[in-house]
């Protein structure tokens, strides 16, 4: 019934006045910009500054990373020959040539299908843990628990497969192995430590407190040095204790101590009444923990735990200091090849993107979980 061309002069019966369009400049794109970008002189200034910054930085980055980049050549000099001046564009040929090395490290080529298979199996094992709508979840979880052992056998070999020394492990593969092992084993261990620390049994509590405080008081680097050097002096050389194994144990213990404190924070957030109610129901300690306390405590600990996991995942790069070839170290060593040296930007950018992809997915998953469990108040 409304007619935008009606003039105000016309008469209407009360209550029948048509809605007039909002004044121009208050709706649509212009209105939105006025309201959000140019509402005050300060906002106007900041908006213009932002546009200028984007204008100055984005085109050169795109030019460098995409339009002037060079692929499919065999050395830095060939890369630079194709550009108007050196470093005008990214020499992605470097990352391209080193890609397999960056992914698999020194893992022997004919055996690399084992790494691929383990990775596929890792995804299959992770899905039932991460999402609960999976059909036949109970059976899938049995497989998930068995997965670390299957993967260990696949990667290390033996029992019918060619053995591969763990010092051939490297690149993305090594980073994922250390990260995933640390994450999966540190959570249960952390929960146990947190329960131990809040336990009524003095001996158990003291042991847990000592362990947690020791680990938290020592930098991860120091622990890795202990793993890589000091342990050797105590162990007879005949009984070589695999370096990767030592590192995995240290990283797991380190993350576990931190997780324990986060979970303890969660436990403290549970009202006393919940414990008492569980006791009143006649539940035993483990039943009370499993059914009443932990589900609530873990739920409120999610952001802290995921934060720890992300930190742990990035800390795995520290293993390069003890001479292990994680993805960052492979990149650094690649820079020592005279064919490519000088292309630090490309290789570090690749590494950064890899870590960003991993850590960002972790944090998105944590958000999903929080939403599903209705926390994040």
């Amino acid at each position: 019934m409304s007619d935008a061309n009606l003039t105000p002069k016309e008469n209407y019966t009360p209550g029948n006045h048509p809605d007039l369009p909002p004044p121009p400049g208050t709706i649509g794109t212009i209105g939105w910009m006025r309201k959000n970008l140019f509402s005050t002189p300060l906002n106007t200034f900041l908006t213009l500054l932002g546009i200028a910054t984007i204008w100055v930085t984005i085109p050169p980055i795109f030019n460098w990373a995409i339009f002037n980049s060079v692929w499919n050549v065999a050395s830095r000099t060939e890369c630079w020959d194709q550009m108007a001046y050196p470093n005008e564009g990214a020499c992605w040929a470097f990352v391209q040539n080193r890609f397999l090395l960056l992914i698999y490290g020194f893992y022997p080529e004919p055996e690399r299908w084992r790494v691929n298979l383990s990775f596929l199996m890792l995804i299959l094992a992770a899905v039932p843990i991460l999402f609960d709508q999976v059909p036949k979840r109970k059976w899938a979880l049995v497989y998930s628990v068995a997965f670390p052992f299957i993967a260990g056998w696949l990667l290390v070999g033996g029992f019918g497969l060619n053995p591969v020394d763990s010092d051939k492990f490297g690149g993305v593969m090594l980073t994922i192995i250390i990260g995933v092992t640390g994450i999966t084993f540190s959570l249960p261990l952390g929960v146990v430590l947190a329960l131990g620390r809040t336990s009524n049994m003095p001996a158990l509590r003291i042991v847990c407190v000592l362990f947690i405080e020791f680990i938290r008081g020592v930098p991860l680097i120091a622990l890795l040095f202990i793993a890589s050097t000091m342990l050797n002096y105590f162990l007879p050389p005949g009984s070589q204790f695999n370096l990767l194994m030592r590192v995995l144990i240290m990283v797991t213990l380190f993350a576990a101590a931190y997780n324990a404190e986060v979970v303890r924070g969660g436990l403290q957030g549970i009202p006393r009444g919940q414990f008492e109610a569980a006791d009143a129901m006649g539940l035993k300690y483990w039943q009370a923990m499993r059914l009443i306390v932990l589900p609530q405590a873990l739920k409120i600990s999610i952001p802290g735990i995921v934060n720890n996991f992300i930190g742990l995942y990035k800390d795995t790069t520290l293993v390069l200091i003890i001479g292990m070839f994680d993805v960052l170290q492979i990149g650094r060593s690649s820079l020592a090849d005279a064919e490519w040296s000088g292309l630090a930007n490309e290789i570090y950018l690749f590494t950064a993107l890899f870590f960003f992809a991993c850590c960002f997915s972790m944090s998105r998953y944590s958000l999903y979980l929080e939403k599903k469990l209705h926390t994040g108040l």
Binding site: W80, D167, G238, L320, G323, F325, S333, A338, S341, G342
Partner: protein, 338 residues
């Protein structure tokens, strides 16, 4: 108390193991069928993985030479990578048999770290690189310069000594890695970059326009880089020492990987002894008589190793200089094979 005594016993037993295991590195290596060689995690020209993940470089070739001498096959090496901080413990904890890892021989490393250095495979020294446009011809003209320098290294101490001695001032720009130095130097935050001359050459080679930069003639420190073994195994130390000597003697006598077979029938008695045609020097070392032949045939003589990895034909383009043979004005000098 019982537990405690058990721990002590375990420690004593493990110490005994350490003692017995390090007594015969040669037997260990032969029994294992593989040489464990400690190398760096990556240094241009000296040790680095190529696109296919194979280790290459000057030090790496000496690892291969050692394997060729001991096991008869230059491929039977496992490279134990180590950082500057873990290299000596890797060797002392018997994770490696020999260290070929651009390691400067110093008094404290020889005496306090309990290593035995058995020779010098590369004579290095700290130098300076500047942009050509500055017109600097000598390090004595660097008064007031800003210098990019790695913190906490001997290069820092050498630099301050040198400038004090010359009564000059400098401003240090502290950096951590070579890449950092490179970008600072290129952006003009520092006028001078100082590190070992081999490192300077490698950095210069990777600059957009190498010819616009000069390495000044002054070398202000001695950095003799050489192989090391654990102290207390003289037979093994002898082997590594004579592996290096064999490559140098081979170059001096003109024996190369290409002509090693013909040289077996040479009239030169030393060549014959070197290649195991006469005498039983290999047996005396505990090796086969053709140990040096294997080195030269499979890896090459000192000159070949040098040229292949860091010489003027490579991108790094180092001249022989101090590392030339003594007959050509350098310092590489092998005692005779007699």
């Amino acid at each position: 108390m019982k537990v405690f005594s058990k721990v002590i016993l375990a420690l004593v037993v493990s110490c005994a193991f350490v003692a017995s295991a390090t007594a015969g590195t040669l037997e260990d290596v032969k029994a294992r069928g593989e040489l464990r060689c400690v190398v760096t995690t990556g240094l241009v020209g000296f040790a680095f993985p190529d696109d296919a993940g194979q280790w290459n470089g000057f030090d790496v070739d000496f690892c291969r030479a050692t394997a060729a001498a001991v096991l008869g096959d230059a491929k039977k090496v496992k490279f134990v990578t180590s950082t500057g901080k873990t290299r000596f413990t890797k060797l002392n904890a018997a994770e490696g048999d020999v260290l070929w890892r651009n390691t400067t021989i110093t008094f404290s490393r020889d005496v306090n770290v309990k290593l035995t250095f058995v020779g010098v495979n590369y004579y290095d020294g700290q130098g300076f690189m500047v942009k050509k446009e500055l017109g600097v011809k000598s390090a004595t003209e660097l008064d007031g310069a800003t210098v990019c320098i790695q913190t906490g290294t001997t290069t820092e101490l050498n630099l301050s000594d040198y400038f004090k001695q010359q009564n000059m001032k400098y401003e240090a720009v502290p950096i951590e890695t070579n890449d950092e130095a490179r970008s600072n130097y290129l952006s003009g935050r520092c006028d001078v970059y100082t590190t070992d001359a081999s490192g300077l050459a490698a950095t210069r080679a990777a600059l957009p326009d190498p010819s616009a930069h000069v390495i000044l003639p002054e070398i202000i420190s001695k950095e003799p880089l050489g192989p090391a073994v654990r102290q207390g195994d003289d037979q093994w130390a002898d082997i590594v020492r004579w592996v290096l000597n064999a490559t140098i003697t081979a170059e001096e006598k003109g024996v190369t990987s290409a002509n090693a077979d013909q040289m077996k029938s040479s009239n030169d008695q030393e060549i014959k002894r070197l290649l195991g045609v006469e005498g039983s020097q290999g047996k005396e070392l505990g090796l086969s008589d053709d140990w040096a032949y294997n080195i030269i045939k499979q890896v090459g003589n000192y000159g070949e190793i040098f040229e292949r990895n860091i010489g003027t034909s490579t991108k790094i383009g180092l001249a022989r200089g101090l590392n030339g043979l003594w007959t050509k004005g350098g310092l590489q000098y092998s005692p005779p094979f007699r």
